[in-house]
């Protein structure tokens, strides 16, 4: 399983992946509990938690894709701008070119697929550094978004608006407002998509050959090759999956905001990387977990929520706390890596 790259199980009998996962979950639970204790009422409502999911469904999908690539030792910084491109293209297709919902979904996946094939080929088969390739991808998507349409606008396509305003109610989780009216808790369609993606990828990484190949290639590409794993193909698939997920995540984002704009999902790639890191994925590759990434996104958005409910409304506090949290988790990772180095000696 994921112990492929774990250190010897002598005294330290938890693998890196599990240790980092446990740290992430503990931090998230601790943070949420502290928020409930210190900030009270708002965080007690289940809807508050569901809102975090609603707002971050696309980020969850993007981060999952990012984790896949990071596990194989690569990186893809184009996902945020691909999201913006998907939003804009789908918006134009729906409102100006007379497309319907199904074609717009196909378009979103196709954009992801196109980016995946090009970037995957360049990274895996031409052996160009993933950072540079996806940097060019980021630039390209950014420029294309404004070439498709430069001005932001809201989509008024009826079927689409009906779909994006669909709310799935969760029984027994609702709350009563001040007048005593019952307000049911709800999630958006995007959350269902995100959870399906998380479950599918979790199974992929845990129980399939290609999933184990990801860990092996990221842990040590040379020995993976000696074991008979097709390293290039594995890397290609990881980048392909990441970009396709960026396409799907882009559509989920599109459903959440319901508009196209060049400034959509600005910096989402950095949030996705941060979530993956907080979730215990090492950028050196070989270590990571989709469940951890899921909790990474939740931790990141919980801390943002906490900061804004503390009354620190100035925009800079959010960024500074996120950066601080990233710093903290990086230091933890660094210590874990040292443990690994110590175990080898």
């Amino acid at each position: 399983m994921e112990n492929v790259v774990a250190p010897k199980k002598s005294l330290r009998n938890i693998s890196d992946t599990n240790l980092l996962l446990i740290i992430t979950i503990v931090v998230f639970v601790f943070m949420y509990a502290m928020a409930i204790i210190c900030l009270g009422s708002g965080f007690l409502k289940p809807q508050n938690f569901f809102n975090i999911l609603n707002e971050n469904a696309s980020l969850i999908i993007l981060s999952c894709g990012m984790s896949l690539v990071m596990i194989t030792g690569g990186i893809d910084i184009s996902v945020g701008q691909v999201t913006a491109l998907v939003c804009m293209s789908c918006a134009v297709l729906l409102d100006k070119s007379g497309g319907n919902v199904v074609t717009s979904i196909c378009l979103a996946v196709a954009i992801g697929l196109a980016f995946g094939i090009v970037q995957g080929t360049l990274v895996a088969y031409l052996e160009i550094q993933p950072f540079i390739v996806s940097l060019a991808g980021l630039f390209f998507a950014k420029g294309m978004t404004t070439i498709v349409n430069a001005n932001p606008f809201n989509v008024e396509h009826k079927a689409f608006v009906a779909m994006r305003s669909t709310r799935i109610e969760i029984p027994f989780m609702g709350s009563y407002n001040k007048k005593g009216m019952y307000i049911p808790a709800y999630i958006e369609i995007g959350v269902v998509v995100a959870i399906v993606v998380v479950i599918l990828l979790f199974c992929l990484l845990r129980w399939t050959r290609i999933g184990r190949n990801f860990y092996a290639v990221g842990g040590n590409a040379l020995s993976a090759r000696l074991l008979g794993i097709n390293v290039k193909k594995t890397k290609f698939i990881a980048h392909l999956l990441c970009s396709v997920l960026a396409g799907i995540g882009g559509y989920v984002y599109f459903m959440h905001v319901g508009s196209g704009s060049p400034s959509h999902a600005d910096g989402a790639e950095m949030n996705a990387i941060a979530s993956s890191i907080i979730g215990g994925t090492l950028l050196t590759g070989g270590v990571g977990n989709i469940v951890g990434t899921f909790f990474g996104v939740l931790s990141l958005s919980t801390i943002k929520n906490i900061v804004s409910s503390l009354g620190l409304d100035e925009a800079w506090w959010t960024n500074i706390t996120v950066a601080f949290m990233l710093c903290l988790f990086l230091l933890i990772q660094s210590l874990v890596l040292r443990r690994k180095a110590g175990a080898k000696k």
């Binding site: 420029g143 950095m270 950028l283």
Partner: protein, 366 residues
Amino acid sequence: MTSSRPLSKKPFVQKLIAVTRMQLFIPVMALLLLVIFNLIADPSFFAIKLGYNSANQPVLSGYLITILDYGSELAILAIGMTLVTSASGGQDISVGASIAIAGSVILKVLCGNESRPDHMKAPIIVAFLVACLVAMLFGAFNGSLVAFFKIQPMVATLILFTAGRSIAAWINNNELPIIAEPEFSYFGTFIPGIPIPTPVFIAAACMLIIFLALKFTNLGLYSQAVGINPHSSRLNGINPAVVKLITYMILGLCVAVVGLIKVSRISTINYSVVAKDIEMDAILAVALGGNSLGGGKFSMPASIMGAYIIQFLTTTLYKFNVDSTALPAYKAVVVIILVVLSAPVVREKINQLKKSSSKKSVKEAA
């Protein structure tokens, strides 16, 4: 590869291969392509005019001057970025955010707590030195994460990338101080009486300093040694952590210089826009120069040339009325072409093709 076979029969082909393998080959070719393209499309691109600005001072204007002017900022950053890339095998993506911080510090020192002071509160040199100090501190923060905690540079600098612009806004309480005195704008525009933009001189000074530093100190040797193999360089008595830290602090210094130019250009600052995406351009400059982004050997002139080529490309695109927001798409296509051409796999293929074709011609001749 078949390169171990004696190829003395085909000196010309061999020479050709040797030329294509030279590091300056890619940047020179890129520059040539751009120049030829512009010559064909519109030769007036290369026209330089001597005009007078609003203050009735003689200034040179023209696309080439613009390239030199704005390319200089990039060239200064490329110097630091090359060293960082060489020593740590990664790139600093926080330079844009750090420029915002440095600019903000300069304005804070010059303006104090007023947003529109009549006079500067401190000499410019003091403000600049404070900015240098702050930028080097932030560089040291990045550097120590990379050097001592062994975090990948991209990720370590992600922290400052996320927080940098927020910190910059926080330093000045989100106000946008404006400096009215004309002396402050000399650094980013023109010094009265000299028709060449000042950033060109600043960049030239930086290049001279780095040239001397590389010539007379072990900076270049050490950073390359650390980049190629930190373990063996440690066995040779070099402390890899310290070398990495120093390269990040040098980059901090470069950032402070660019910060001064940036705020001087407009005499104020816009935290969310200043030096936006410049980190990407700086990294591309290093890559265009043919330097490995994985660390190790580097060529400083190639990087600096890469910086000016990026600016050349940007200006060319602007000239053809490409919308500034659509610019990245075109840049990306050019970058992909260049990177694909310089990829080792592709180069090998090209070389093989050349060899086989020359073999055929030899056979035919026989």
